[in-house]
Subunit: 267 residues, 2 copies
């Protein structure tokens, strides 16, 4: 064996030994590398504050254009007290109950027929960095207000915290028609002059309660197919700033929208 | 003014000028710092693969112990074709339909009365690093199988991919009683010897379909209050490894469980 070969042999032996040590320190199905990754991510998440921005489903949750709220949406059909093995309920909701996402098919029938349903909403839009902004308290979200907010290109998700939050409208059973939302020109400004794809609002509709405006706002946003209005958000405990949002509607095939659970992690 | 003072004064002047420049370059409600943060996080998310691990809600989705599947759960109550301003549906599901989370009150009535409902499930458990493991294909998840998987302490979330996925059971309308899941001693092993708090499984129950076992499995897991079984996961497109999971059930107050949208980001 030449010197060169001896040194190659020694190197290979060393490598094999290292591989063996690494295998021996692996934990069953989990490598030490994976375990380290898990532990690091665990501590990364532990240091971040999590904020629930979804409203609880309760009978008194307000419902669009109704005085009665959601009503009894949950029905305990199997009960341990009555001899069932388990407690088991059914629930019935509108696709636009409480905190929810609109699908393009909600207002645009052609897109409804094309399958633009709750299940088609883009997970990349529904998850990622988000900006929470306060809007001027005495105004709807007009083009002028949008201009003054001056949201730069590159910002894809914005939650608009309005006077709806101050007035605690989502905590009142009776629907409040004078809620704050986008005007037609505000929505038009958003699609023309920003990169916003997720539009969050703190009451039950992203468009003001004027028939012409509410349609135009939804047509402007939903007509783009890639813009997702998320309505009925709970922004009670959120200060303006940058967060990470995870907003996950159910995969309701043919659904014109869906209830969604939405949370923020502090960035 | 002494030399020292002059230098201090110059430094303050420079700092004030820098602050002014930084303000001037801010974009309306968004500081340049925040915009940078958003852009960095956007590119961080863009490079990660996202995997939907929730099943679509469709009439043929299997339903526990039923031959008929979910059936017609969605009802278009307002239709643009029939003159409505919008398409608007209601939907009715069991709290344990499709991909869903169990609340402690599902099997344990005392905890049900104490308010351990779907809304009480810990968001810290439902979001974070997760391990996906393959289980031996010819066995249920027994204590012996759990021992062989050897999942180290510190791992809080595990999705168990079993033969249910190979057999595509969640794609068959008729309920399959011989599905793979935990035996009583497997669940007992999990709570005694691991730190697992989120237990994911790829069919409709975390416990095997034997009355004694299915109860004992649920008592063992749900009795801890801090363990969340997530059932009916879609692991068709997932290979074993480390991911980040976001699994978000609806805030169904008094719900013994809730449908949940669950996704993975590749780590």
């Amino acid at each position: 064996m030449t010197n060169h070969n001896t040194s190659l042999f020694s190197s290979l032996l060393l490598l094999s030994l290292l591989a063996l040590v690494s295998l021996a320190s692996a934990h069953g199905t989990v490598s030490t590398y994976d375990l380290q990754k898990i532990k690091e991510e665990e501590s990364y998440y532990r240091q971040k504050k999590v904020i629930d921005i979804s409203h609880k489903y309760v009978p008194d949750l307000p419902s669009y254009a109704s005085k009665k709220g959601l009503g009894d949406f949950l029905n305990l059909v199997g009960s341990i007290k009555n001899g069932s093995l388990v407690n088991l309920s059914t629930f019935k909701l509108s696709t636009h109950s409480g905190t929810h996402a609109d699908a393009p098919g909600h207002f645009i029938d052609k897109l409804f027929d094309m399958g633009c349903d709750a299940d088609s909403l883009d997970l990349r839009t529904l998850n990622g960095p988000v900006l929470v902004v306060d809007t001027p308290r005495d105004k709807n979200i007009t083009a002028e207000v949008m201009r003054s907010l001056n949201i730069p290109r590159g910002v894809k998700r914005v939650l608009f915290r309005t006077s709806n939050t101050d007035k605690r409208l989502m905590h009142q059973k009776e629907f409040e028609p004078s809620y704050t939302a986008f005007t037609a020109d505000g929505a038009e400004y958003l699609v023309q002059n920003t990169d916003i794809k997720l539009v969050g609002i703190d009451y039950l509709s992203v468009g003001i309660n004027v028939r012409d405006d509410i349609s135009k706002v939804h047509y402007a946003l939903l007509g783009r197919k890639d813009v997702i209005p998320v309505e009925g958000l709970n922004l009670d405990n959120v200060v303006p700033g940058v967060y990470t949002v995870h907003c996950l509607p159910l995969r309701l095939v043919h659904g014109d929208g869906s209830p969604a659970r939405c949370i923020l992690f502090q960035s």
